[in-house]
Amino acid sequence: MSTNTPARNTKVMNRFDLTSRLVAKLKHEEAVVGGIGNTNFDLWAAGHRPQNFYMLGSMGLAFPIALGVALAQPKRRVFALEGDGSLLMQMGCLSTIATQAPKNLTMIVMDNGVYQITGAQPTPAAAVADIVAIAQGSGLANSAWAADEEDFERLVDQSLTSTVPTLIAVRIDDKPGTGQTRRDPVQIRERFMLGLGVRQAL
């Protein structure tokens, strides 16, 4: 199904492996917003941190939620993990983010071309669209495909000192998530606020 345009001629990687590589780099209480389904299951499985926010619905809102965090705390690095199917639901947010241009925001798109969690049906974009080209066309000039795991880590490191928001797209396999997030929205939100220094524990 996948196209072999030069832009997407990159290694097919694994979501859990990439998420683990990202989490291993986090040393400064960076915020991480995990999109619905497998994206946040793998974030959970990579090791729970108080600065992680796990979505349990609202498909497509990982980047908008992360934009809100990034605007509220401009000194904190904010990562957002989103699936390609989710991003297709809310593509307009790319332009909103490009206009607001928070330099502390790094967006990662896990692109497997399928709705893995509902039975791996191909997305309408899978065979024709290029997410990095869409992001660039939306005004996010600092958008790139990661060629392999090392390139992914390099792009993540580079984003830390970027003066504009960063989008990193990765081609991933069709494996399901590892583990499952505990579905307790109030506790997730409260822990996140504690982790961001907004709340003190009772």
Partner: protein, 180 residues
């Protein structure tokens, strides 16, 4: 007292809304525009206290203020009735279960002189959705009550960590003169 009342009656509804947001430290105001909201949006942009910008969808704006609130910055979302109709999923999966004090100002189209049948139909879905989710909402019709409703509703949303919708009726926002 009389002077204060006179000052209030001289204020337009959009001044009352802006001051109410400011008094409660609501600094982030993403919106999808509506003609009725034009002056309020213009004044929000003109005031450096506020960070205000358009989003492509109302849902997106809800995501943004939810993230911002969790990170310590208060926000509110502006939209029109048809925009509210796109929000059932995000209200039920983000704002309510995560207990986020989402503050919405919804300019009410579809009633009291609507010319577009589609707008009048979608307007009828708004209160049933709000009621089915047991959400706090008020229909604002009178300028003399508006400051009280705005101020108290924002404070209640924040202290109870629950969303609120303030529906801005044409009775509040439109020129009430009858064209003959």
């Amino acid at each position: 007292m009389a002077a204060a009342a006179a000052q209030t009656s001289a204020q337009a509804w959009h001044d009352v809304a802006l001051q109410g947001l400011k008094r409660n430290d609501i600094r982030l105001v993403p919106y999808v525009p509506d003609r009725v909201l034009t002056t309020l949006i213009k004044n929000l942009h003109a005031d450096p206290f506020f960070t205000t910008f358009p989003t492509a969808r109302e849902e997106e704006a809800v995501g943004i203020v939810s993230g911002a609130w969790m990170a310590g910055l208060r926000g509110a979302v502006l939209m029109q009735t048809s925009g509210f109709a796109t929000l059932a999923n995000v209200l039920a999966s983000l704002a309510i279960p995560y207990q986020i004090p989402l503050i919405m100002l919804v300019s009410e189209r579809g009633t009291l002189g609507e010319f577009n049948y589609g707008q009048s139909l979608v307007c009828r879905t708004m209160r049933p959705v709000l009621n089915s989710l047991a959400m706090e909402h008020h229909t604002c019709t009178r300028l003399d009550e508006f400051e009280f409703i705005v101020d108290r509703s924002i404070k209640q949303a924040i202290t109870t960590q629950a969303p609120v919708a303030l529906i801005l009726s044409p009775l509040l926002t439109a020129n009430r003169t009858i064209e003959k």
